[in-house]
């Protein structure tokens, strides 16, 4: 295994982790605020990719595709929360079944609208190709993904840490009942967080669509990864989402490269180990 191998694989792992961060950060916040199990989160990713695909093909603008997709799926998420999930507060089984129901409906609708063939989201010429950094070759698009994740991560951190809205969200994550008690409109915060999570997942779907593609089954394929990131990182924790995404991205990548026969195992075994030591995840509070 040459140094080039390690560098390339590490970078791949980091860029995949960046994508996972987009997907999982929203999920972690949703869990943290509302303690809602949303098995349709992978569907947001997939639908985001498909919507982005259509917009990109029609308007030839990647930026517009990202924006439109985030907004559209954010609205879908809002609708689900407001009209369906809100009445299932605290009922884990009910949430699981209802969100799975939606996931299946979304999957079938996607099949109906876009068919069964895989597609790749067209990316701007600016982001294609590779570049040389310190003797190694890196695809520009993957650097772009890492960049987007860093920007989004910083933005989230700034909002959570420095703004009033962020303080409200953190309060709701800490203790929703107490937050409601001091006058924070927790339902509205929940709705906003849900919409944000869905939008971020959709953004991840469009961006991921540029190199992984969009295809039927992407929803259930990516869902366990999102869950592992949130489990390992800890519910409701932004630093946890960062740590978890990086860890999962690297483990998955190296696992696939070095032990292809045991790929899921190499991912979940360390996860199990971490949980054995800290059942609430690296940064979680239980």
């Amino acid at each position: 295994m040459s140094a080039e191998f390690w560098i390339a694989q590490s970078f791949n792992g980091i860029s995949y982790g960046a994508l996972l961060f987009l997907l999982a950060s929203g999920l972690s916040l949703i869990f943290g605020v509302m303690r809602v199990v949303n098995l349709a989160h992978g569907s947001y990713f997939m639908l985001g990719g498909y919507v982005g695909l259509t917009v990109a093909l029609r308007t030839k603008s990647f930026t517009l595709a990202c924006l439109a997709s985030a907004v559209a799926i954010g609205l879908v998420g809002m609708g689900m929360e407001r009209f369906f999930l809100r009445r299932l507060h605290g009922q884990v089984l009910g949430q699981v079944l209802m969100t799975i129901g939606f996931a299946l409906i979304f999957q079938d609708l996607a099949l109906l609208i876009w068919g069964g063939d895989p597609y790749t989201v067209p990316i701007p010429a600016l982001l294609t190709g590779t570049t040389r950094l310190g003797g190694a070759v890196f695809p520009i698009y993957r650097i772009f993904i890492v960049g987007v994740a860093i920007v989004v991560g910083l933005a989230l951190w700034l909002v959570l840490d420095r703004t009033r809205v962020g303080a409200m969200i953190r309060a709701a994550v800490d203790d929703a009942e107490m937050a409601q008690g001091v006058g924070i409109n927790v339902p509205r915060v929940s709705l906003a967080v849900f919409a944000l999570g869905a939008a971020l997942a959709a953004l991840g779907g469009v961006i991921g669509g540029g190199f992984l593609g969009v295809y039927p089954g992407a929803d259930f394929e990516v869902l366990p990864y999102a869950f592992v990131v949130v489990i390992v990182g800890g519910l409701g924790s932004l630093p946890g989402a960062v740590a978890g995404s990086l860890l999962v991205g690297l483990l998955d990548n190296f696992g696939k490269a070095l032990f292809p026969e045991l790929s899921y195992f190499t991912l979940f075994a360390p996860m199990a180990l971490i949980l054995a030591i800290r059942p609430t995840g690296l940064f979680g509070r239980g």
């Binding site: 089984l93 409906i105 519910l235």
Partner: protein, 307 residues
């Protein structure tokens, strides 16, 4: 009340046994499938409906049992008893290991960990090609024979599955009305109270987890013989979730409800997919409908609030 339920069950078994030779082949195989999947659904009910633990990875133990039979029957030409025993033991072992990791967690964390653990089994089934033949699956599992009894015909095999399902139901039924079963229902009601009363709640939950895995594995062994073919699809997330739906549809905590739910889903899947390609859409609608309109499931609604 127990006697009445046992009587109803006996009647049902007799009716099914009598009707079986008269049914055409297709409904008979569907009925057989419903019985096998019913065992899986009941095993999940012990964990979910009685102990209150929602698991999203139950197909794992089903799959381990199925793969054990498939591998042993096709590569070692092992007989029925050896395959069944091996399948159940391996499923129990898997549940024993996974339980150590999962039972520490509660609520949402438990759900997610069981999902992840289910994916581990799926991943192994998918990638450990030398053992499981990966995506291709293992085909050619022959119908078994029990000594001189040849179970390969649809009717004898149906009887075999009917007997198995009845035994499984009886054993699980005894479990849930036993003192241990009462303890599980207590855990579902209030873990903190059970702790305060002096129960080692972790131990009871762990035992329930393993026992549930044993019965799921048993169902899996029958599935391998029924289907003749085992693939990673049998252990995928969707299978675990469908099992949850069967429990919810039939009624968590009623034991016979989930078996009924299994039957409904099996028939729904096979009939509906004949008439429309939009089968997933309808299934999704069923999920949402159950939550909105029948939160206690069918049998739950029939029995009212009193359990």
């Amino acid at each position: 009340m127990i006697a009445r339920r046992a009587l109803l069950a006996a009647v049902a078994v007799v009716v099914l046994a009598a009707v079986a030779p008269l049914l055409p082949a297709y409904p008979l195989t569907l009925l057989t499938q419903a019985l096998i999947v019913g065992i899986l659904a009941m095993s999940l009910d012990v964990l979910l409906g009685y102990t209150g633990l929602s698991s999203l990875g139950h197909a794992a133990y089903f799959g381990v049992g199925a793969y054990a039979v498939a591998i042993m029957a096709t590569e070692k030409q092992a007989g029925l008893v050896a395959c069944l025993v091996m399948g159940v033991l391996l499923a129990a072992g898997t549940a024993a290991v996974f339980g150590l990791l999962a039972i520490r967690a509660t609520g949402t964390y438990f759900l997610m960990i069981t999902l992840a653990l289910g994916m581990v089994i799926w991943g192994l089934a998918f990638r450990w090609v030398s053992l499981t033949k990966g995506d291709n699956g293992i085909a050619g599992v022959p119908r078994p024979s029990l000594g001189p009894l040849d179970l390969s015909g649809p009717v004898p095999f149906f009887y075999f599955c009917l007997l198995s399902a009845a035994v499984a139901w009886a054993l699980m039924g005894l479990l849930v009305v036993s003192p241990f079963g009462l303890g599980l229902r207590g855990i579902r009601g209030s873990e903190t109270r059970m702790q305060a009363l002096g129960y080692n709640v972790w131990l009871h939950k762990y035992a329930a987890f393993v026992i549930s895995g044993v019965f799921a594995g048993f169902g899996g062994t029958l599935w391998a013989y029924y289907n003749g073919f085992v693939s990673p699809n049998d252990v995928q997330l969707v299978t675990s979730v469908e099992t949850l739906l069967m429990v919810a549809l039939g009624g968590p905590g009623t034991l016979i409800g989930p078996a009924l739910g299994a039957g409904i889903i099996v028939f729904l899947k096979n009939f509906v997919s004949v008439y429309t390609k939009r089968w997933l859409l309808i299934l999704g609608g069923v999920y949402i409908g159950v939550i909105l309109f029948a939160p206690n499931g069918i049998v739950g609604a029939l029995r009212g609030r009193r359990r």
